[in-house]
Symmetry: C2
Subunit: 344 residues, 2 copies
C-alpha cells in the first residue's frame, strides 16, 4: 500500500523543549497512542512529562522500540545541532527516525550516513509516498466518514480521533485514516494530502481508505476547508476521493474570519454542509451530514450550552463540543439512518 | 515572476515522426505562434510539413533561435536514442531544449552535460517552478476570463487561444495565460497546474494572472472539470486562484461520459455553470458565464446549427463552435455587461 507506514513502538524525542506548547506532536501521541509509546527521551532535566517512562537509546533498543519520533516543533524545520548526536546514536542503533518538520532528515549528511549504515529509515511524514495513482472514481466497499471544517485548525483531526475511539468503544470495526503529519504519527500511517501533486490528490485519497468489509468505518481526518481561499482545492480533492457516506463539520465558536485572512469572513455551517453535499454527491450520492463538532473554548461557560442548542435547532443535527459532551450523539446519528435534513 | 518562461524564437524539433497526430505540440506552435517559430527540424525526409522553413542546428544559431522545442510525443516520455545526437548538438550550441514529456531532460546524462557546458537550459514544462506561494485570496487589478470544461480534452486551450486572438484583433489589451504543457509552449510562459503540490495550487493560479491595468484581460487556459472524479481539485484550485470575472464553458457535442471513465456520465452544461459560479463567487462575487464553446465535429452538418440554437435557448448565452462560428458572439457578451442569467 502506498501510504507512509511507521514502525512501532515509539520513543518520543523531546529535545531540549520544556514547554508543552512546543511538543504538541509528542503530547498528541502520548494521548492518542499510549499503547504505541514505549518512552520519552528528553535532553534536559527536568524535561517535559508526557506520562511516559524516561528512556535513552540503549534502553529503547532493549525495549524493542521501532522508531524515534521527533515530538517537538523545530525552528524553521532545521534540526538543532544539540539534538544531532542523540538522533545519530538512535539511527546507528537501527531506530527509524521520524520527523514532521518541513526540512528533510535526508538533507543532514551525518544523519543520512548513520541511517544508511544501519538500514534505519529516515521518514519525513510531510513527504508523500511515491507512485500515487490518478483517482479511479470507483465505489469502494466499506463505510467512510470524513471530518470537514469551516476553516483550518478547528478540530478536524481531534474530532476524527474522538469518533474513531467512540466507535471502537462501542465495539464497532473502525480505522482512523490520517491525512496530515501529526495524524500520520498518531495513526502510524497515512498520506500528507497537502503535499501531494494536484493530479494525484483524489487518487491519494482513494488509496487512504481502501476497500474494506461492509460494516467497517474509516474515519478520515479532513484538511483545510472547502471555502478556503488557499486550501479549498485540497479539501475538494480529499472529499471527492474519500467518497464519504457521512461527514461531520468542525468549527471553532467565535471565529468570524479565516485564520490568517482577516478580510475573508467564514461562511455559515449550513453553507459548508450544502457545499460539501454538492461536491460529495459526485462520487457518493448517499453522502449526508451527521453532526457538528464545535470547539467552544472561546465561549463563556454560561453561553456555550445555549450556543450549541441554537445550532442544533438551526441545523437539525447533533452539535457537540467533543471535549465536553463527547461525540456519542454524533455516533448515534451516524448509526441511525433517519437524519433530519439540514435547515438554514 | 515564478512562471516557466521560454526563450524565443523556436526551432521545432520533429524527430522521426511523420504523422501530424504525433506532432500536436509542434502543429499547435506553428498555428498559434507562427511569429515565434523560426523553423522546423526533421530527422527524416520527407518529414512533416508544418509550413516552417527546414533548418539544421547551425542554421538555427545563425537565425538567432533561442530554444529547440520538442514538438512531438515520445513513447513513455523517454527521448529516443536516434534523436539524442541532434539534441546534444543543439544544447552544445547554446540552444535551450524544451520538452513537455513526463521524463525529465535532466535525467539524460549526455544531454545534461552538454547543457551545463554551454549554459543552455533544459526546460521541462511539466515541472512547476520552485518557490510557489500559498494563495493570498487578495483581489488583483485587471480583468480575467477562465475557460472551464464539462470534461478533459473539450477545447479549453483552443477556446482560450481563440478568445485571446479575437480580443487582440478587436484592439483590446489581453494576454493568454497557459496552465498546461502545450499551452506553456505556445504562450512561452505559464505554470503546469496539474503538477503543482496541492497546498500551492491556488497560489500558483494567483501568480499566473498577476495584477494588471484595469482594462486588461487575462484569458486563462482551464484544466480538467469541476466535476471530474480525478482532476476536480485541480479545476477548483485554478478557479479559486484565478478569481475570474468571466468564464466560458467548453464542451464536446455527443460526449456522454467522462473520457476514460465510461461509468460516470457528464453533467449538464447548466450544472457546470452553477457549480462554477458557486465556487468562483468565493474569490470573485462578480463571476459570470459569458458563453459556451462547443466542439461540434461529431455532429452531422445538418444538426449542428439546431444543436447550438437549442443550447442558446436553454442557457440564454452565446453558444458557438469556435472553429466554425468563431468566438465573436462570446466576445460581445464579455464586453456587454447585461448578460441573461442562465436558466436550467
Amino acid at each position: 500500500m502506498n501510504v507512509i507506514t511507521l514502525k512501532p513502538p515509539y520513543l518520543i524525542f523531546l529535545g531540549d523543549v520544556t514547554e508543552l506548547t512546543y511538543a504538541k506532536t509528542g503530547a498528541g501521541l502520548a494521548q492518542w497512542r499510549p499503547d504505541a509509546c514505549a518512552g520519552q527521551l528528553s535532553l534536559v532535566k527536568p524535561g517535559l512529562a508526557l506520562g511516559l517512562p524516561d528512556m535513552n537509546v540503549e534502553q529503547a533498543i532493549a525495549a524493542n522500540v521501532g522508531s524515534l519520533i521527533i515530538g517537538t516543533a523545530t525552528v524553521g524545520g532545521v534540526i538543532p545541532e544539540s539534538w544531532l548526536d542523540t538522533l545519530i546514536e538512535a539511527a546507528e542503533a537501527g531506530l527509524d527516525i521520524v520527523s514532521g518538520a518541513h526540512g528533510r532528515l535526508q538533507d543532514n549528511p551525518r544523519l543520512a550516513a548513520a541511517a544508511q549504515k544501519s538500514g534505519a529509515r529516515l521518514v519525513d511524514v510531510r513527504v508523500p509516498p511515491a507512485g500515487l495513482p490518478v483517482a479511479s472514481g470507483k465505489k469502494r466497499s466499506g463505510k467512510r466518514l470524513l471530518t470537514v471544517g469551516t476553516d483550518c485548525a478547528v478540530g478536524k483531526k481531534y474530532t476524527a480521533l474522538a469518533l474513531h475511539a467512540a466507535l471502537k468503544n462501542a465495539g464497532m470495526d473502525a480505522d482512523f485514516r490520517a491525512s496530515g503529519q501529526t495524524g500520520i504519527m498518531i495513526s502510524g500511517q497515512g498520506i500528507p494530502m497537502d503535499s501531494v501533486v494536484s493530479d494525484f490528490l483524489s487518487g491519494a485519497a482513494e488509496l487512504l481508505s481502501p476497500d474494506n468489509s461492509p460494516e467497517h468505518w474509516d474515519i478520515i481526518e479532513g484538511q483545510g476547508a472547502i471555502i478556503h481561499p488557499a486550501y479549498g482545492a485540497v479539501s475538494v480533492g480529499l472529499l471527492m476521493g474519500s467518497q464519504p457516506d457521512a461527514f461531520v463539520v468542525c468549527h471553532e465558536a467565535g471565529r468570524t474570519h479565516i485564520a490568517g485572512w482577516p478580510e475573508i469572513p467564514l461562511v455559515k455551517i449550513a453553507e459548508i454542509i450544502l457545499r460539501t453535499v454538492a461536491v460529495g454527491r459526485l462520487t457518493n450520492p448517499a453522502i449526508r451530514c451527521v453532526g457538528v463538532s464545535v470547539n467552544t473554548s472561546a465561549l463563556a461557560p454560561d453561553t456555550r450550552a445555549t450556543y450549541l442548542q441554537n445550532l442544533e435547532r438551526q441545523l437539525g443535527l447533533p452539535c457537540v463540543d467533543p471535549l465536553i459532551e463527547g461525540v456519542d450523539d454524533i455516533i448515534e446519528c451516524l448509526v441511525n439512518d433517519s437524519i433530519p435534513e439540514p435547515v438554514e
